[in-house]
Each structure stands twice: as C-alpha cells, then as structure tokens.
C-alpha cells in the first residue's frame, strides 16, 4: 500500500490481520478487463459455482494519493486560496491543493474517462468525490495547480457548459445534492437533474464566489420519500404529488398482492374492497382520499395504484435547515412555499423563488449566520415579508407533533400580516 504514515499503517495492519480478501486489488486492476470472463465462470444451473460473495469494498488506503498516505492524521491547517481551491499543510511541511469541481452526478463513463485523463496528467492517477457530488483533484505544487485550473477552464460541452467548473468552497452555494427524478425513478413528482441544472445555472456566480454570509446548502428530493435527505438543508426543493392514487380494479388482483398494498400505506388509508365487473366479483382496494398524504408508498408495492399527475404534481420549497453543529444545533428545513407547478424544461418559477430567498438572505444576514438562524433571528413573519412569500395555511403544521411549532407567547413582530409597524 505504499508509503503510509504510522497512524495509517496501524489501521491497515489491523484489517490485514482480519484476513480481508480484497485489501489490495492492484494486481487485479493491472489486468485489462476481460469481457468474456463472466460467461466462462457463471453457470445459471449451478449458481454457487465460482461465486465470490461478501468481500465488501476494496480497502480505501490504496486509493489515497501518496501525499495523503504519507501525512494521514498529520494535517496541520488549511486555507481556501481562491474559490474552489483549498491548500492543506501537514506537520511535515508537505502541501496538497484540493481543486473542487461540480458535477451533475448523473455522468457517463466517457466523462469518468475524461476525469481519469485529467487525473493521470496532473494528479498521479488519483481523484476523489465528495458527499455533495463534487470532484476533487489533488496536486502538490503551484505550477501544476495553475496548469490544471487552466486546463479545467477550457473543457466545455458542445452546448457551451463547463464540464468541470471549479468552485463550491466557503461561503458559497455548493453543488446541489439530488435524487433521480424522471431520469430513473418510479415515484417522482418532479425531475431532478433538469431542475438542478436550471437552478445551478442561475446561481452559478454564487458557486464560483464566496460572498454569502455563510455556506448555503441546497438539496432536491423528487418525492416525499426524500432519498436525498433534503430535510436539513438551507434550501430544499421537494417534489410533491397532490392527487391520491388511482385504483385499477381490472388489473390490481393480477399484478399486486393486495395485503401488501394495504400494509404499504403509512396512514392506513387503504382498505380491501370487492367490486363487480361484468357480473364477476373482483377483489380490489379503496383509498380514503381524505387521509392520503400523497407519499406514493402504495405505488411502490402495487403498480396498479399510480398517482403521478402532470397537473397535480410540482415543487414545494423548504428553507432554514442545517446539519452542522456550528453555533446553533442542527435543525429541519421548514415549508415556506407549498406549491410551484412543474415547468419543464427550466422551471422558471422555482429558479426565481430560490434566487429571491437567497438574495434576501445574502443582503440581510450577518456574517456566519446560516439561512435558518437568520430567519429565526428576524422572526419567520419577517422572513415571509422580506422574501415576499405569501403565508398560507399550508405552512402551519397539522401532522405529528404539530403543536411544537405553534407560537405560544406574546412575542411577535408587526408585519404585513398584521398591521404594519409605522
């Protein structure tokens, strides 16, 4: 595994002693890919033959750049020297620059190959991805850094967009964490990649600069399941359905296990039923539509209960969540705009709403103040007023623990919602 720091070597040695099978895959990787090997090894009649299972992921340390291995656990300080470039210094005096680039997450093998080409040319064949779908290239000297930045700037898609825009550090809008949307999911109410592209195009200046009061984390989830865990983001874009599932009586008993469909409903709103079609009694279900919260869990279990609807579906905007424990505790995002219609291909309503919130915050908040902390300081009534968002009953909770969000004091501010303070 090369020249690892003592601290790292100790961890590697411990796992070696556990007898892991794929600690070091370098020998495997030296061999070219053999497109015919699997067909020789796999026998559908004897599925256990030649089967390797439960080896888990290859050990992480073999993928570290040399400077990372050598200085593992011995880093001293870091500095963002320009947007997207972080300089790390180790106790040994070694330096590494991390160059951060956004990606759309949904990328082809051709893009990954291009990333490899860059990593081979400048980074000794290493590259990293972050939790927020950013790429990170590592170099150890200024000259290579400048050459790499120049190179990245010149790489564009035919339509003119940057392939690897550098940014996403410090007090900025970094890359949006998102789900699959219409590209590959069966329950989405909105697309993911298209909205992300439209919003990031609009906020691109904030991705490539550090002029906000604090970092702003934007996330998108295309339905209430929230695979993207958007519920603690500064700004969350959430896909919502607004029509209960249809029930295909003719088909349901053929394609679903009815008890599973019933059990799938979190609110117990699905009940068994029998209907008569052409004189034949047929088992089916009925939905108590008033209890439906449009989550789509039934459809996941039963393809005869679709709920997507071009006119009903759309976007809700939630704001003010955070993950970090810095200054204030982590908190949830709150629903401020209950519905914006789907407007493909560029969702102008969503883009406009987000820009208005972001710029009001940027103008108004104090240094280091996250969006949610700002809203709490000025009061949510002021948030709605300043952002010019109409307050509706949809922002008042009526689910579990709703009472926790009600205001039980006489402290409030005069805004357009009451009688304005003159």
């Amino acid at each position: 595994m090369g020249n690892a720091s003592q601290e790292l070597q100790r961890l590697i040695d411990f796992e070696m002693e556990q007898g892991r099978e794929n600690m070091d895959v370098s020998e495997l990787l030296q061999k070219p890919y053999d497109p015919e090997l699997a067909e020789k090894l796999y026998d559908p009649k004897q599925p256990m033959k030649n089967r390797i299972t439960d080896i888990g992921p290859p050990h992480y340390a073999q993928f570290f750049p040399e400077v990372i291995k050598k200085n593992y656990g011995k880093w001293l300080k870091h500095e963002i020297i320009e947007p997207g470039v972080i300089k790390y210094t180790a106790e040994s005096g070694d330096v590494v620059f991390a160059i951060r680039c956004a990606t759309p997450r949904l990328i082809t093998t051709d893009t990954i190959r291009e990333i490899c080409e860059i990593a081979d040319k400048y980074c000794e064949g290493h590259v990293r991805w972050t939790t927020r779908n950013n790429l990170e290239f590592h170099v150890t000297d200024e000259e290579t850094l400048r050459a790499l930045l120049d190179d990245l700037k010149g790489r564009k898609y035919p339509g003119g967009s940057y392939k690897f825009p550098v940014g996403g550090t410090g007090a900025c809008v970094t890359n949006i964490v998102h789900t699959q949307g219409w590209v590959h999911c069966h329950t989405p109410a909105i697309d993911a990649s298209g909205i992300v592209k439209a919003v990031m195009d609009d906020l691109f200046e904030y991705f490539q600069s550090m002029k906000l009061p604090a970092q702003v984390r934007i996330a998108l989830a295309c339905c209430l399941n929230m695979c993207g865990a958007v519920h603690c983001s500064d700004i969350a874009i959430l896909g919502i359905h607004r029509k209960p599932p249809l029930v295909e009586d003719e088909r349901i008993n053929g394609v679903c296990e009815i008890p599973l469909a019933i059990a799938a409903c979190p609110l117990g709103a699905i009940k068994p039923a029998t209907v008569e079609i052409n004189g034949k009694k047929i088992k089916t279900v009925r939905v108590n539509e008033e209890r439906c919260m449009f989550c789509g869990n039934c459809y996941t279990m039963c393809p005869a209960m679709p709920l997507a609807d071009g006119e009903g579906d759309g976007v809700a905007i939630l704001v003010g969540g955070k993950i970090s424990n810095r200054i204030s505790a982590p908190k949830f995002s709150k629903l401020v705009i209950p519905y914006i219609p789907n407007e493909p291909p560029r969702w102008p309503g969503v883009v406009k709403a987000i820009r208005k919130i972001l710029e009001t915050y940027a103008h108004d908040a104090r240094k280091y103040e996250r969006l949610g902390d700002w809203a709490e300081r000025i009061g949510w009534e002021k948030f709605f007023e300043k952002c010019e968002i109409p307050f509706t009953e949809k922002s008042i909770d009526d689910y579990r623990l709703a009472y926790d969000t009600y205001h039980t004091s006489t402290h409030f501010k005069w805004t357009i919602h009451t009688k304005k303070f003159e």
């Binding site: 961890l11 411990f14 895959v25 990787l29 030296q30 061999k31 070219p32 890919y33 090997l37 699997a38 089967r51 080896i55 888990g56 290859p58 073999q62 993928f63 990372i68 656990g73 880093w75 300080k77 870091h78 500095e79 759309p104 997450r105 990328i107 082809t108 093998t109 190959r113 990333i115 490899c116 990293r128 991805w129 972050t130 898609y157 035919p158 339509g159 003119g160 410090g170 007090a171 219409w182 590959h184 989405p188 298209g194 550090m210 929230m226 695979c227 059990a263 869990n297 997507a308 071009g310 579906d313 970090s324 424990n325 810095r326 200054i327 493909p344 291909p345 280091y368 579990r400 623990l401």
Partner: protein, 428 residues
C-alpha cells in the same frame, strides 16, 4: 457514426445552455458514439418533460443469487418507443470509504459498464454507492461476476438491509478529524457483510461517520446510528496565531468569506460573542477558553483554524434514530453515548450495535425505522435494552408533564394492596 437513433428532444436542448455542466450534452454524446440506451433515455425523459410525469415503473425479483439487496429493478412504461431501455435496472456498488479512487480502478469500471450496461452512472448515490444505471436482467449476474472477480468490488445495500456505510474525508486530509473515519467505515462494512447483502431488519439501517461536529456526511440527519467525532480535553491554542488573526495577518475562516468586504476581523464580535456556550474571553491579546463549559460546536475553530485545534483525547459521540420524514415525520439523531473511544477492534461499539439490533429485530414493526421504534417504545426502554445510564445530556430539557410510568418495584410495598385494609382507614 454508429448506427443509433436519436430522438427529437427540443426541451432537453434547452438544458444544454448555461454554465453548469449539462447532463444532456454528456449523455447525448455518449449515445451518438453507439449507446442507444443513452439516446432512448433522453427520448423518454423528453416525453416526461412533455407529460410532466415519470415513465418508469419498478420491478421485484431482480438481484443476484443469494443477495437480497444491491440491485433495483426498473422498467420503462413506454418500451415500444424506447426498446433499449425496456429493462433498465440499477446496481449499487459499494464505494471505497470516503471516495478516493485510482484511475486504474475507474477505467476498468468504465470498461465493465460499457460492456454490461448503459454507460450511465450516478457518482454517487445519496447513500454513497457508485450507482451503475441501467442494464438488462440477463446482465446482472455477469456484472456481479465481473465486479467480484475482476475489480475486487462488491454490491452495496438496498431494501431492509444494512445500507452501505459512508464517511467524511477524515484524517486523510482534515486536521479537525477526531476519528479514523475511513477505518471505522471500512471495518463496519466488512464486519456486517451479511446484514448488508441480505434482509435482516424491519427496515433499512444506516451508519455514517463524521470526523467532527461540522458533520460533513450529514450523519446526524440521515442515519440510524450517527458516529460523530469529538474530544474531551482542551482546545489547543496557539496564542501567536490568535494575535495574527487579531491583527489581520491571517484570513478568518480560512478565507471562506474572501469575496465580500465584511470589514476588519473582530475577534470579539465574530468569535467570542457567537460562542453558544459563552465560554471564551480575551485578556489583552490572549484568548482564554473555559473548556469545561465548551460544547464543541466548532465555530471558533472554523473561524481561526491556525490558532485553535480540537483536543487530543478524541473519540465519538454516538447518536441514534435519524431519518427522512416517511413515516412519522423527519427525525434527527438523539444523543445516547456522549463519548466512546473508537479504536480497533471497536468491540465496545459493536457490542452496543448488537444490543440495538437485537431489540429492533425483536420489537420493530415491518418498515419501522429505529428512530420510530424509540418514539413508540420510549427512549427509556432503548436505554434499558442497551444498558445505558440515563443522563441529562440525552434531553434538551426534562419532561414538563408528570405522567411517569412508575413500576411496582420502585414503590415501597409494591402494588399489591387490600381494599379492605384501605376501607378500615377510610369510610366509603
């Protein structure tokens, strides 16, 4: 030009414009080089843009033999228009901890995926896996054989399994990390391969490991068991560097606010006054911290990274039960173990996990996350089964209602009483 059919996609054309990388350009170029699936995917997406509805449906029994997770079935509902993506299943491949790669690994993965699938990926899925997007049922086993035999890689979790653990960059590159995040992530992933690949639980279970309370993998919001680095000694102070910040020689917050003029750095206003514990003060130009009052929020360290560093007696705070809103509403993780050393072989932690799992497997309802079970059965019961002592750190404030569930053995004489004896003292 390869023999492929490009669909008319006027709306998606609009998503080639603008500076942010265009997934449409990427996928279309790949398609024109010979991957019909890419062009069909864009064709179907255009149709979704027209209808404002998805055109995917899901499927059940796809997977590799002996595994109950790692593959997600997906089918087009317009297969006649887009036959190459009629079946379009996803494989989740367990990423190396903290997502460093060599180009040798990535190139071979690309060769594999061009051969076995669509050539499209998500780098990465929300949970952390490398997601190979789109292949046919008959390619699943060969893909799995290729991954295990030629890459030394394996599938990640899905369904009611342990999901693929993930972690932040940790000590590999961050001076704040109080944990060997990759090592913990790798070890748990390896130790619990059976739980990762086969259904074991009422519902999904996630581990995430962040090296410090900045929590760069969002462990506190996203996972059933959050492992977050912390320390229990003093913040290390370099007073010379403190003075350098005061005099403007060092950039506050490591330069994170450099593109706006926020005025001269003011240590009182920007650090001391914002400290949530109010445990710092300045004497002349010497910074003092009452570490016994510190809650380790990281703000002062974030603002003056060259002057302040976390302590050296490091370990993890363990919190449990976070989840997205379905079903009972979103939950953040609840603090249950304020400090635990996290050193190989991690036995203390694994013992804790065993107790948690045993209880959840026994008591959890189908599709009930750990956080929901704790809500239903109470935090007290969770503490009893995990043999943890109740401490005030576990609550924001004590309860305000008096409805305590006393048990008989806590009351002298128990609950066996005689009404006749009672009536001797009190007339009816």
């Amino acid at each position: 030009m390869a023999d492929v059919k490009k669909h008319d996609t006027p709306m998606l054309e609009e998503l080639k414009k603008g500076p942010f990388p265009s997934f449409v350009d990427d996928i279309e170029a790949k398609g024109l080089k010979g991957k019909q699936e890419c062009l069909d995917l864009l064709g179907q997406l255009e149709l979704s843009y027209k209808h404002k509805e998805t055109h995917w449906k899901h499927g059940g029994i796809v997977g590799v033999f002996g595994y109950g997770g790692g593959v997600i079935g997906r089918y087009s509902d317009v297969p006649d228009m887009f036959p190459s993506i009629a079946h379009f299943h996803t494989l989740r491949v367990n990423q190396p901890a903290s997502k460093f790669y060599t180009t040798a690994f990535l190139r071979k993965l690309c060769d594999l995926w061009d051969n076995r699938g669509s050539g499209m990926t998500n780098f990465h899925g929300s949970t952390g896996d490398m997601v190979l997007l789109g292949t046919k049922t008959d390619q699943l086993e060969p893909t799995f054989y290729d991954l295990t035999h030629q890459m030394g890689a394996d599938l990640g979790g899905s369904g009611s399994n342990l999901r693929t653990p993930s972690c932040c960059v940790g000590k590999a590159r961050c001076e704040w990390s109080c944990l060997d995040t990759q090592a913990i992530c790798y070890h748990l992933t390896q130790e619990y391969q059976d739980e990762l690949h086969r259904p074991a639980f009422p519902y999904k279970f996630k581990f995430k490991i962040s090296g410090c309370p900045n929590d760069c993998v969002a462990a506190i919001a996203r996972c059933d068991c959050s492992i977050i680095g912390t320390w229990r000694d003093r913040i290390r102070i370099d007073q010379k560097a403190v003075r350098a910040y005061i005099h403007g020689e060092l950039k506050p917050n490591a330069g994170a606010h450099a593109d706006r003029n926020w005025g001269k750095f003011d240590i009182q206003k920007e650090v001391i006054d914002l400290c949530p514990a109010q445990c710092m003060w300045l004497e002349g130009e010497t910074l003092h911290i009452d570490d016994s009052e510190c809650v380790r929020c990281m703000h002062c360290i974030n603002v003056m990274p060259e002057a302040l560093r976390p302590g050296v007696d490091t370990g993890a705070t363990i919190l449990v039960g976070a989840k997205a809103p379905i079903l009972e509403g979103a939950q953040l993780s609840t603090l249950v173990i304020p400090f635990m050393k996290m050193e190989p072989p991690y036995d203390e932690f694994k013992d804790f996990v065993d107790k948690v799992w045993e209880w959840w497997m026994e008591e959890g309802k189908n599709r009930e996350r750990l956080g929901e079970l704790i809500q239903r059965k109470s935090l007290q019961e969770f503490l009893r089964v995990t043999e943890l002592k109740p401490i005030p750190q576990m609550v924001k404030e004590p309860r305000s209602n008096p409805y305590v569930f006393w048990s008989a053995d806590e009351v002298p004489g128990g609950w066996d009483r005689d009404i006749k004896e009672f009536r001797k003292r009190h007339a009816a």
